[in-house]
């Protein structure tokens, strides 16, 4: 498949994989739950893909991956509605969207599997590592939004002023944009330093 996204390094898939569930990570707890569901779904779909790679066409594996992922998210909803109804209600539409996270992460790894043929264990480890990184990112975003929305992280008060505006959908896009700008500025500065030391 000649799709540019799947030619990127596996790590670069994290950004697009964040997209479907970014809005659901409104607190550390919500980010953790979403990340855990994604991790379980990736771990469930990994052996299926590893075993069938080369034997079953990619399109068929992709459909199977999506069905497995949505099954995991449905089961997770059942468990959450009993154990933590508040988080289950808050995650709402975002739980089934885990399917798309998993498809993006798995499809990237599948592409690499078809091109470079890494060993099954490497594919499995790479899938799990990407899902763990995604969980970390969701927990981080959840923590930032929790602080902005409530002024506290768990029971610890952090902000003395009300910044809940920046925790809402519009505000959080500006916050994420600003954080990305800082990251880009640091990357460009280190690039310039590197160029100067080489020159």
């Amino acid at each position: 498949m000649n799709y540019p996204l799947f030619k990127r390094p596996a790590l670069a898939l994290l950004f697009p994989a964040l997209a479907p569930t970014l809005g659901g990570a409104v607190s550390v707890r919500a980010g953790l739950v979403l990340g855990a569901v994604i991790l379980v779904a990736v771990l469930v779909t990994a052996p299926y893909n590893v075993v069938l790679a080369g034997r079953v066409p990619r399109a068929v594996r992709l459909v199977g991956t999506a069905v497995l992922a949505v099954t995991v998210s449905t089961l997770a909803r059942f468990v959450l509605s009993v154990t933590d109804p508040f988080v289950s209600e808050a995650l709402g539409v975002f739980l089934p969207l885990v399917t798309i996270n998993v498809v993006i992460l798995r499809q990237g790894v599948l592409y690499e599997a078809d091109e470079a043929q890494p060993r099954a264990a490497t594919q499995f480890a790479q899938s799990a590592w990407l899902a763990l990184l995604l969980m970390g990112a969701l927990v981080g975003i959840g923590a930032v939004r929790e602080v902005l929305l409530t002024g506290a992280l768990g029971q610890t008060a952090i902000l003395a002023i009300d910044l809940s505006f920046f925790g809402g959908p519009g505000g959080v896009l500006i916050v994420v944009g600003s954080l990305l700008a800082v990251g880009q500025a640091l990357r460009l500065a280190s690039q310039r330093r590197g160029d100067a030391s080489h020159g």
Binding site: M1, N2, Y3, P4, L5, F15, P16, L18, A19, P20, T21, L22, G23, A59, V63, A66, V67, V70, T71, S73, T74, F78, G92, V93, P96, L97, T99, I100, V103, I104, P169, G170, G171, V172, L173, I174, V175, V176, G177, S178, L180, A181, Q184, A185, L188
Partner: protein, 189 residues
């Protein structure tokens, strides 16, 4: 009739899924077509697929899932409906003209807006007509934002911005500001 207008305009403005749920951010975090027109086509194809998926989903829910008490299979059913529709669209668009965005169907399928809009429309609206109009409004809302952000980024003034602000940071800040502006319409009706 006014209700339908409210659903349609609300989906584009104050109920826009990108603004309210941060859904459909994939084109901004992953891959986006290169021109305003191609972004518009991507949004419109997403809208058409979503409206067809919502119609099929509503029919399946009211005729099969609810009578047979299988409502817990709703999300699985919707994913399968979308997969069938996307496979059909891929077949139809196999020989798409050059002015259409490349990998159009793959872009739609990797965008959470499609599945998200289908689920939200079915959750929110009551009757079949309301559900379809709600889906149409939400799909058009995604199209409008895709076109708006690309149109802003294509303006020559953005080339004057510092390098650290260009690209993804600018897209997110623009989206954030558009989101705040659209929320201002929420008092209508």
């Amino acid at each position: 009739m006014a209700e339908f207008g409210y659903l349609l305009i609300g989906g584009v403005l104050w109920n826009n899924v990108i603004v309210t749920h941060l859904l459909g951010l994939y084109p901004f975090l992953g891959e986006r077509p290169a021109t305003v027109a191609q972004n518009g086509i991507l949004g419109l194809v997403t809208t058409v697929l979503v409206v067809v998926a919502v119609t099929a989903g509503f029919a399946l829910r009211s005729m099969v899932l609810v009578p047979m008490e299988l409502i817990y299979l709703e999300h699985l059913t919707l994913v399968l409906v979308l997969i069938v529709l996307l496979a059909g669209a891929a077949r139809v668009l196999r020989r798409a003209p050059a002015w259409m965005p490349e990998h159009l169907v793959l872009r739609v399928s990797l965008n959470s807006a499609a599945l998200g809009v289908v689920i939200l429309s079915l959750e929110r609206a009551a009757g079949p007509a309301h559900t379809i109009v709600a889906a149409l409004g939400l799909g058009l809302g995604v199209t409008v934002l895709l076109v708006l952000v690309e149109a802003i980024e294509e303006r020559p003034e953005t080339k004057l911005l510092p390098a650290w602000l260009r690209g993804m940071p600018l897209q997110f800040m623009t989206l954030g500001m558009i989101a705040l502006a659209l929320q201002g319409f929420s008092g209508i009706g």
